[in-house]
Symmetry: C2
Subunit: 443 residues, 2 copies
């Protein structure tokens, strides 16, 4: 029978899917993998150039991957405590293993009690819809300076991408001849454009202000909004903060403007806040849209519908392979939540991902065995941790800058020059070597 | 501001989502959880009845959950080998743990070499799109009596439900005034009706033949097909085999009829084969649609487009919380596959789920430490395993039925009556107690 008789052909594929923006990186990455394989097969050569099969020569010896936000692939090490808790939950016999620290066992033990038959292989709906959201809510309250968070407004998910399509699908009405519009920042994450196309909505681009360090320009949003109303009904404003791929962190003033605009123009604000733990500039701290919204008067704070999301793929954990995240909903009718959750497509996230996120919400406390490693991994008192490790490895004692006080976000050590010059030479060389290893292991 | 000013309200929700069939179990399960909580709080009482708050009395002491296919929640134990491999991949320090068997370490070690930086927290696209599909393909070739399986036709996914919506979305053309029709069995899994609604297609029900043990009636499919053509374009025929929730296993003859029909009527066959490892009737073995299709002449075998899927949530592993499965595509243009995979919504499954599925595709070999436990867990030679454990625990030696030969799917032990009556009494009581513990642990 001819191929034309087939149901699913390249020609017949749903135009919405065809229209979704494809990641243009694909061919580049395939080529890079090919070069990497070829380099691995080539005999080592002396000199700057090496031979490739097919007559190609490259002025490098290895492929260096600097394109993607996949920290573990780039060599970042996982946080030991999180992985220990996950491993114990995968194989609870490890509760009796000497190699596991007490606090990881205690945490895993508590979680296992919340899992059906202590199994991460059960669907565990209560754990996902009740237990984890409670911990997330407490975490967000600490983050937002005590602003109340109701666990019923927290929706856990297994990876953000699919859930965004699901959420967008809620606001799209395919029977409406005027299609829903979603405002998207440029530059921004390609997944948003994909998700908008897949949900059957129309993407409306607004440009970030490159001269202003990629700041968000509310005037630009108003301008494209006016144009878009000619061909669609703008319903959702998507903002990425901290910016991706720009790194720009919105100021409170900018966020207030965005929220005022959302209230006036009746836009649901979809806030991608997944890089909230990656802000290292003390003069521009991360503020959540929820927090800034709650600080505004009730006319705005009760009107703006906000969906913010968080992912363990980014930040300290950077565990993309664990597929875990959550959405916080503000000013959205719980009945919709319920409908959404029983609707069935995103309700079963991976349990071990949830376990990992769960453990991340309540880091080990001071005095618990995993606290120091965790703190170092979190960037807390890293200079103290560095000095401790240096001492254990080399016998050299330095003084951590944190014991003297230092500007937040900076780290120092104090080293006296009292030893003899011969000794100092060895000390400096040893510290340099150790520092390099330390960076490799913990950064 | 009034609620009517909000973007997302119960009234405004996308009618496709509203129209999706909701799981009717919801309220029942909520009520059951409530009763369970109340029973847990009630003081233990003598007698058949116990008090509940709110003046309720129940003629039972505990809620017994028999509604759902969540084997671990119901007490089924995970397969140790799979969990050991997953735990080691979560926390590779366990490669040095004495408590882990050699073969689990070797398997995990091989997988860790295939993961980016040995981290299950990286996205690991090559592992998911190349390494695991190769093992799956070999597994399917063994299952299908050697019929060739190309790994490029295997698409890994993190849970079947989301992926089904994605696949259905491919064949739906929203710009076509005649909507796509999807034929669905009744009774069948509610997720199909949800997925069809969400993808914007129209569900066309065909009824299974209850009098024929829930067999599939091709005449019934032809009948509804004729009716459906009045209001939609039927494109997909969904068949669940082994049947859910019916348990019916299709015969080769029925499958051939279905495939002939799919060829004649130009229907893509979506085959839910997730319960393929749950067939215990020797007279009605499971056959895959792929296998039966390949046995038919080229006019049919090259024409029918088939998507079959498999899940670790069912069968031996029954690890629903690990969210892992795969699709096998037959007669579908690889370019669509590529587009689908780069399309972005389902491409990042949970890595530890993939690890578990990966380990399941190649069970431990004879002679490896985990082989015996795994074989028992797989239902292979369970009578031998029973006798071995009985001996170790009680000193009683029985002869496994498998050493005498027995009908496939049945299991026996031989016990002689030579001991004295007093001893036999103790032996029988001990065996009964042990059998109960054994069932609890391994069934």
């Amino acid at each position: 029978m001819a191929a034309g008789r087939k149901v699913l052909t390249l020609d017949s594929v749903n135009p919405c899917v065809k229209g979704a923006r494809l990641p243009t990186l694909g061919p580049l990455l395939e080529r890079a993998s090919e070069i990497q394989r070829q380099l691995a097969q080539s005999p080592p050569l002396v000199g700057a150039f090496c031979s490739l099969p097919q007559g190609e020569e490259k002025p490098f010896r290895e492929v260096i991957w600097c394109h993607s936000g996949d920290p573990h692939a780039a060599g970042q090490r996982p946080i030991t405590f999180l992985r220990q808790v996950a491993a114990i939950c995968a194989y609870p016999e490890l509760l009796h293993a000497d190699s596991m620290p007490r606090d990881a066992k205690q945490r895993a033990s508590r979680i296992l009690q919340e899992l059906h038959s202590s199994s991460a292989g059960a669907y565990n709906m209560e754990y996902v819809t009740t237990a984890v959201p409670q911990r997330v809510a407490r975490y967000l309250e600490r983050r937002d300076g005590g602003i109340r968070c109701d666990p019923r407004n927290i929706v856990m998910c297994g990876g953000i991408t699919t859930a965004i399509v699901d959420f967008l699908s809620l606001v799209v009405n395919e029977q409406d001849p005027r299609r829903a519009g979603v405002l998207l920042p440029v530059p921004g994450h390609p997944l948003f454009a994909d998700a908008v196309a897949l949900a059957g909505a129309i993407g409306v681009q607004y440009h970030l202000d490159e001269e202003g360090g990629w700041a968000l320009d509310v005037g630009e949003i108003r301008r494209v909004l006016g144009q878009a109303r000619g061909h669609c009904t703008p319903k959702v404003l998507c903002v990425i903060n901290p910016g991706y791929p720009t790194g720009h962190v919105l100021s409170r003033r900018h966020m207030q403007d965005v929220l005022q605009l959302a209230a006036q123009e009746r836009l649901l604000l979809l806030a991608d806040e997944v890089h909230q733990d990656c802000v290292f500039t003390p003069d521009a701290p991360f503020l959540s849209f929820k927090r800034v919204l709650c600080e505004l008067g009730p006319a705005v704070s009760s009107a703006v519908q906000l969906i913010s999301f968080y992912s363990v793929s980014k930040g300290f954990a950077a565990e993309g392979g664990f597929r875990a995240g959550f959405f916080e909903l503000v000013n959205i009718d719980p009945a919709i939540m319920k409908r959404f959750c029983s609707w069935g497509m995103s309700i079963y996230p991976l349990i071990l991902g949830q376990v990992l996120l769960d453990a991340l919400m309540e880091p080990p406390l001071p005095g618990e065995p995993s606290c120091r490693t965790f703190m170092a991994a979190l960037g807390l008192e890293p200079d103290f941790f560095f000095c401790q490790k240096l001492l254990e490895a080399t016998g050299i004692v330095l003084a951590p800058g944190s014991t003297f006080g230092q500007r937040r976000g900076t780290h120092h050590v104090r080293m006296t020059l009292l030893p003899r010059v011969e000794t100092l030479r060895i000390v400096l060389q040893t510290i340099a070597e150790f520092h390099s290893q330390f960076q490799q292991r913990y950064s």
